[in-house]
Symmetry: C2
Subunit: 343 residues, 2 copies
């Protein structure tokens, strides 16, 4: 026969105090004297007692749990992108006593409306939805809903949804300024068009190039593929080279595609950066290790995770009622970009 699980009642009996006192001790309530606290805690330690979290959740109307939903990329966890964000969220959530409930936005997850169920059943106090794409219309449910919901590193123009994201338009400006400042006027852009942030980046990049004071640049752009992969970047570069043979720079919407572009250049005997400058976005670890080092825009995704978690907790506590943060980005100059070649 298995020993009955201990409850707060057992602790109360053993320590000689009432149920409520024990509860107050366990919650660090200031009304309890140190002497009482010590005596209760001694018993708690002795029995290695941990209060039942279901009972706690029921009584306190809070699960102290955050739902984190990640996109359903096939190899989702291999994407460094996610790792950074999740680490940030985890760090912050844990430090505030919150646990993380993980979900993957599979077709089944969407179809069965798990995202609603999780919050409606109070299994989670709030939801962090990481980086979905432009087709996630079902998220409209969370407009003006009582549920605490936050998009992470993603925005949804036209929808009233809270978000914390890197400022992709600002990144586009930094990138364009860097390349234009180096004299490039024929640029190939490898864009990601399956996310709104990707579209923002593309549009802002094109806008800045078109309106550049020192003379507008000619930009050809192609889509780098749904996966934003090295492979996609490679293929896109081939297309751009055919479309705009005189290009002197390639701008890719992320580092992986940029590395694919560098690979294509190497395979096709174009020197980087002597003949063609290549630039990416994100500043993944690999960016510093390729040869030449990849010039890029740094996106601090760990920080995005931290900040997202801060915000959702504030939403939960009612300290704020909405949130639309754009985090700053910065230019990282390495060897893959240089002044436009003469002639």
């Amino acid at each position: 026969m298995v020993a009955r699980r201990r409850t707060i009642k057992d602790i109360a009996k053993e320590s000689g105090f009432s149920l409520s006192t024990v509860s107050l001790v366990l919650n660090n309530h200031p009304r309890i004297s140190q002497a009482t606290r010590d005596r209760v805690m001694a018993v708690v330690k002795k029995y290695n007692f941990y209060p039942n979290s279901a009972a706690r959740g029921l009584a306190s109307k809070s699960s102290r749990t955050l739902s984190v939903v990640v996109p359903n990329l096939t190899r989702v966890f291999s994407d460094i992108y996610l790792g950074e964000i999740i680490s940030g969220i985890y760090e912050r959530a844990t430090s505030q006593g919150y646990k993380i409930l993980l979900d993957i936005a599979t077709a089944q997850f969407i179809k069965s409306q798990e995202y609603t169920k999780l919050l409606a059943s109070r299994r989670a106090d709030g939801m962090l939805f990481i980086a979905s794409d432009i087709h996630a219309d079902y998220l409209s449910v969370f407009e003006d809903s009582p549920y605490k919901f936050l998009l992470v590193n993603h925005v949804f123009p036209g929808k009233k949804l809270n978000y914390v994201s890197v400022d992709y338009a600002a990144s586009a400006r930094l990138a364009a300024q860097h390349l234009l400042g180096l004299g490039h006027r024929r640029i190939g852009l490898i864009a990601g068009t399956n996310t709104f942030t990707g579209l923002q980046f593309r549009d802002e990049f094109l806008r800045v190039c078109k309106t550049w004071q020192a003379g507008p640049a000619k930009v050809a752009w192609v889509d780098g593929g749904e996966e934003w992969s090295q492979r996609g970047g490679y293929a896109a570069t081939a297309k751009l080279a055919a479309q705009l043979p005189e290009l002197t720079a390639i701008m890719a919407a992320n580092d992986r595609m940029a590395i694919g572009a560098m690979r294509w250049m190497a395979d096709n005997h174009r020197e980087v950066p002597e003949q063609v400058s290549v630039m990416g976005v994100d500043d993944i670890q690999l960016a510093a290790y390729v040869n030449p080092g990849l010039s890029t825009i740094r996106h601090d995704l760990y920080q995005v995770g931290i900040e997202s978690c801060n915000r959702i907790l504030q939403l939960i506590k009612g300290e704020i009622t909405e949130c639309s943060d754009l985090l700053p980005t910065s230019m990282v100059v390495r060897g893959s970009t240089s002044r436009v070649p003469v002639g």
Copy 2:
């Protein structure tokens, strides 16, 4: 003022049935007639009602939640290894109505004994602990404990801990047989020595090589580093080449280190496989894409995830009381290995 959250009581009142009937309907109890079921569900749908999971957990003494603990590698989620396993666990857990609580085995997590707390507080019904290292002594707590605990792709010789893992010794045999069968007798082994499975692999590989019928092989081994990385494999290869210059084959304990080895060979003008055969373990996606394709031992980690989840659920239901499964592996021959060069 915010609308009061609906409860089962509201559904009962509205549908004209009792509390218990509604509850039984929600739990698909067979004793309820179809007519009743339909009428209750109509109201449930109408109000978009989902039962409070804390109340449910409290009454049923089950959280329907699994704790998944992943190792605290810096870039933990970038490791494809984990992605596969977690995907498998998630798939299975979800199909059985279980949710996943994610934790990272940080120093803090260990120190504060979160692993105990999670189970003691009944926040999770069971714990899946992924791939820790040889220093995880604190897991002894789970020997003969009432808590449902399972090591995933890891074993702990000498401890009575449940596990589901790939059979690393079998992999070592397959690998050794392949290389020895190709005539190799001077082999460099890049081992991982910070996990028990890594040690098992090394020892079994050495044993088979030493006792090979057609003539034993000379094997030099070095450690590939804590991270089992490409970089580590590269450095290890350099050491091996110095230590056993006449080697004709490199065996690495995982594909990433093997790819590092191939890189070293390329940088040092050794032809693979003409001069040196190289072989890995895992069969990561990249293994098929390097040139030449990497011969390796296939480890189906998605399946490890699936099977682990099956087992922990059986442990929770009491269908089994212990578990020590080793999943089979298989040889994948690609271009990086060939017959030993003559002379």
